[in-house]
Amino acid sequence: MSVQAATGTYSPAAAAAGDKRREKREELRRHLAEDADWPRADGRSFHDCRPAFMQTGPTTAASGSAYAEFGKTKVIVSVFGPRESKKAMMYSDVGRLNCNVSYTTFATPVRGQGADNKEYSSMLHKALEGAVMLHTFPKTTVDVFALVLESGGSDLPIIISCASLALADAGIMMYDLVTSVSVSCFRKNIIIDPTSDEEAWQDGSLVVAFMPARKEITQLTLTGEWSDSRITNAVELCMDACSKLSDILRDRLKDTATLTSE
């Protein structure tokens, strides 16, 4: 079936979307030439994140789970464990963190494209590793599985934030909640929490995963063209947004806690 999909079928939107895309690129180029603020497609200003909706507990079969929705981006993360490590694993004094990120086939406009983001699993692992107290569950494994239901831009940072909420929901000990935010750079402008369209035209991107209470960065990925001063600016912008996001996460956890105690 997949062979057939590759050769015989195509998404009809692609042909017509070509014109629209060109238009959009032209528009962006015009804005950049004027060097002015331009309205973002969803009406935000450059330094506004999309409204964040986060909640714990969508997957009752898991030890802990969380759901995050930022605009069109929708992610579910389930945490299982601590449970027995795979037989093939060597003995280990500290626990293991096993991360996996997958996309639904309909997450992307073109079917099955989400499978391209193979590096996200290891990036999620690296972002969380520093925050989880691995010594509290020796010899066992905690599995963190993420499923992107729909991809609408800034996927990785949302997965990271959602995963740390799910870990907290599962009662896994952490030094701090990890939250993550990305920015895109367009010539002289920096915009926060880009959508997929904005990501497609960006000159550079920066993803920061941050532990706000400890003021420590667990992961920082920078790609594209950046100048020194703007990097500092962008990192500060991200850290600020991460702190705010962390407050939302804390509120969610408090909600759940008060409810269970009642």
């Binding site: 079936m1 057939q4 999909a5 015989g8 079928t9 195509y10 998404s11 009809p12 939107a13 692609a14 042909a15 017509a16 979307a17 409204p51 909706f53 909640q55 714990t56 507990g57 969508p58 997957t59 009752t60 079969a61 898991a62 789970s65 759901y67 929705e69 069109k72 929708k74 579910i76 993360v77 389930s78 299982f80 449970r83 996996n100 997958s102 639904t104 086939t105 309909f106 997450a107 992307t108 406009p109 079917r111 599995d143 599985f145 993420a146 499923l147 239901l149 729909e150 991809s151 609408g152 909600d255 759940t256 409810l259 269970t260």
Partner: protein
């Protein structure tokens, strides 16, 4: 012999039960736990034996698909909040919005399925030039259950895919001719992908409800043909006048004889409708009955397990018919709810 030890175990278990905490008892002696409930004609989640779980259907959960539906089975508390109290609308999990109200997103296990239909254009095979095609896939991602690990797909997933395809095709739900665009040149290939988000028993029933709901929600885009013979979508009023449209009429699939199913777990003389995964783990015999909207039988499956009398099968069929009536009501309500949303 085996029955004896079982009975003895059950006896000790019920003796112990007084001293043991309920949760521990539930985990250590799942069968005895279930049987004690059944003796009182009630089930661990408080349902009657023949009662299916409360079902909700939300249409249009995924923007990137042509048709989609999220369904949940289980007592999820739905409490509508005034929209002003929330600065944004979590379209996807309306039930989750309720969790901001004091009465939270409950801890009751609930089954969740997300189905989407995505259309692509294909050249129809020579033997059926005027027909489209449907590709069904049922996914169990590792998030849905502790038993599924990445890289090792669940054994049941392909079984359910196949069963769904059989039911959808044999019941005549989808007329493949409706998916034709240009005879012999182009037709739709509908990818139906169903994701299980939380596995909690009766997977096939839930998958079938979500599949039917996603096809109900499906809206076929207007398309035209370019000079190169490729089909492209046409949006807006300007496009409608500029291009010659191929499918002005065929915008919705007319579903014929909508099938719905009910799985019953059989334990001794008890018939448990719509079992949860907890019940499925201790019971071995199931009957799955699929009926269409005019109460005709589409399929009956009883794979292995203990022997069953014809009476029990008949009981399952009548339960399935009852369930079918309820599900059609729920589906109609959800379609109306969506239309109200759109006009607002």
């Amino acid at each position: 012999m085996a029955a004896e030890t079982e009975a003895a175990a059950a006896a000790t278990a019920s003796g112990l039960a007084g001293e043991m905490e309920v949760e521990a008892y539930r985990r250590l002696f799942p069968l005895a736990f279930l049987e004690r409930h059944l003796r009182e004609s009630v089930r661990p989640d408080g349902r009657h034996l023949s009662e299916a779980r409360h079902t909700t259907i939300a249409l249009g959960a995924v923007y990137s698909a042509h048709g989609s539906a999220l369904i949940r089975l289980g007592e999820t508390v739905m409490r509508s909040l005034p929209s002003s109290s929330s600065p944004f609308s979590p379209l996807f999990f309306p039930a989750l919005l309720a969790s901001r109200a004091p009465q939270l997103f409950d801890e009751m296990p609930s089954q969740a399925m997300l189905a989407s239909v995505k259309l692509e254009v294909m050249s129809p095979p020579a033997e059926s030039p005027d027909e489209g095609s449907v590709a069904v896939e049922f996914h169990m991602p590792p998030i849905c259950s502790p038993l599924v690990r990445p890289g090792r797909p669940a054994d049941v997933a392909p079984v359910i895919s196949k069963a769904l395809e059989d039911v959808l095709m044999s019941s005549g739900t989808i007329n493949l001719k409706d998916l034709c665009l240009i005879n012999g040149k182009a037709s739709w290939l509908a990818y139906l992908d169903i994701y299980c988000l939380n596995a909690d028993g009766s997977l096939f029933d839930a998958a079938l409800i979500s599949a039917v709901a996603a096809f109900t929600h499906l809206e076929i885009p207007l398309v035209s043909v370019g000079d190169d013979g490729r089909v492209f979508t046409v949006g807006g009023n300007e496009g409608k006048t500029k291009f010659e449209l191929v499918n002005r009429e065929k915008r919705k699939l007319a579903l014929g004889g909508i099938p719905f199913s009910l799985t019953c777990a059989l334990h001794k003389d008890n018939v448990l409708a719509d079992p949860t995964s907890e019940e499925e783990s201790v019971i071995e015999t199931y009957i799955t009955v699929v009926v269409d909207s005019s109460d005709r039988l589409v399929s009956i499956q009883k794979l292995g397990g203990a022997v069953t009398s014809m009476e029990t099968v008949k009981e399952c069929i009548s339960l399935a018919k009852e369930r079918r009536r309820k599900l059609i009501e729920i589906l109609t309500d959800s379609v109306e709810a969506m239309e109200v949303d759109q006009t607002e």
